[in-house]
Symmetry: C2
Subunit: 276 residues, 2 copies
């Protein structure tokens, strides 16, 4: 039995959820709405002084849950794999600078090679950046992505694969992120959530909904309750597995981005307490 959500103390919103806003608007509006968890997407940090951003976050009482996103390790081209390492090392610096304890990894895939090869390169990539992450005090979460992204965005498409990789790497600094959008269809989800929970590797929990029909591969996610995912059930599994962190609202939606973002934030809050 999933407990009811009673308040906003564990609500986190991803800056990408309110994409029309820059980081300052996100911070001020989330805080004004009583939302104090924020996951920062790297696009909003471009051309920003990170010390200033950190001060802004502190001034408004914001807790940074994670930085999105690192990853995209695989490529048939060595030069691209190397530049991915550089980019991930830079992400670790950014995370440390703004006080993000975690980086979410969208691991990547290269359709010109097998999924197995891409997975090998993902493990290599994570092992390469791990010392820097540990030194910076920043954890890494492997996020399995929906199989519809297997060709170009992630060769890690089930929580079992993410758990297997985290076990292979075997570091306190590497765990997994569970996003209902990517994983709701999988009949092994409950047991795999229990598995990573028991090993203290469940680092993040993302919510949104699967629209019926879905009309775009990237930017047609639903607000909780819009679609067909039993979000309370999955949240229950996550909490039963020992997760006590924030519930992160990560919605990419052309439809909602076209609306008033302050009103949208209120819709998110309503959906959060009533349908999450």
């Amino acid at each position: 039995m999933t407990s009811k959500i009673a308040d906003f103390s564990k609500l986190c919103v991803h800056t990408q959820t309110t994409r029309p806003w820059g980081v300052e608007s996100c911070v001020k509006n989330y805080s004004a709405a009583g939302i104090h968890g924020i996951t920062i997407w790297r696009n909003v940090l471009e051309n920003q002084n990170l010390t200033t951003v950190k001060a802004l976050l502190d001034d408004y009482g914001m807790k940074v849950i994670s930085l999105c996103r690192g990853g995209f390790f695989p490529s048939v081209e060595v030069a691209r794999r190397e530049s991915a390492i550089d980019d991930n090392l830079f992400a670790i610096e950014q995370a440390a600078a703004i006080g993000a304890p975690l980086i979410v990894l969208v691991c990547g895939a290269d359709g010109r090679q097998s999924l197995e090869k891409s997975r090998e390169q993902i493990a290599e990539g994570i092992n390469r950046i791990l010392p820097a992450a540990r030194s910076a005090g920043v954890k890494l979460a492997i996020e399995p992505l929906h199989p519809m992204y297997a060709g170009d965005r992630s060769a890690i498409n089930t929580l079992k694969q993410a758990n297997d990789m985290a076990e292979l790497i075997n570091s306190d600094w590497v765990g997994v992120a569970v996003d209902v959008y990517h994983l709701w269809w999988d009949d092994t989800l409950k047991s795999e959530i229990a598995r990573c929970g028991s090993l203290n590797r469940l680092f993040a929990f993302h919510v949104c909904d699967w629209n019926l029909p879905t009309i775009d591969f990237l930017n047609d996610r639903g607000l909780m309750g819009d679609g067909c995912i039993n979000i309370p059930q999955i949240r229950g599994w996550v909490e039963d597995a020992g997760f006590a962190g924030f519930n992160e609202v990560e919605i990419f939606s052309e439809k909602y981005w076209a609306t008033d973002q302050k009103e949208y934030l209120e819709k998110i809050k309503l959906a959060y307490v009533s349908r999450t």
Copy 2:
């Protein structure tokens, strides 16, 4: 090591692959191109005299591999589940009339209920139509669909689930269809193909490719070689599992439908011998 395809003796084309053509154009053009396997979609049978269609198929030396498609069993509404049964019984009559030995089942899903509930209703539906299928001499193939269709088109999303259901139903008349488009990403695919093969339940094999990027959820499939699926590898697994049937080209593509269909048929033949 996958054997090379040397000729067109096991090539089958789905009528939906050349959607602009009606059944007569499909039959005449496939036959003229040296393609003698055909899978008939039910839309091309609308307003047709099935005796005439059967005579046409025979006259042009066409072998019907299967009828597409039955299924769509689940619904929260009893009336819709009943009308699905009626529709599937009608499909069995159609299959028998045109000499199709197999109906492919796109099993269905209803996002208003759990995937488990939809799966129960799928098993119930198949059991309901099984006596009629057996009497008519028509087999039924459970086709797992890609997880991106879990909300509205099929609650069977992996070959493991299809195999589990076929084992549960446990009839010589019920097996599975393997379509590379739906299953290529799954790291249990090889073992699950071996599993259904060993039980003589691998009834059909469908090929096309996964485009990068894919821009439409339904009608942006690629011709073999256009995308990222290792089709020869999967065909090798299927043949190693004992499958000796036709390789069915099932491509839904607005792009290819907009081209000259005779030229497209030649492209299909080339892709079939060189990239399948």
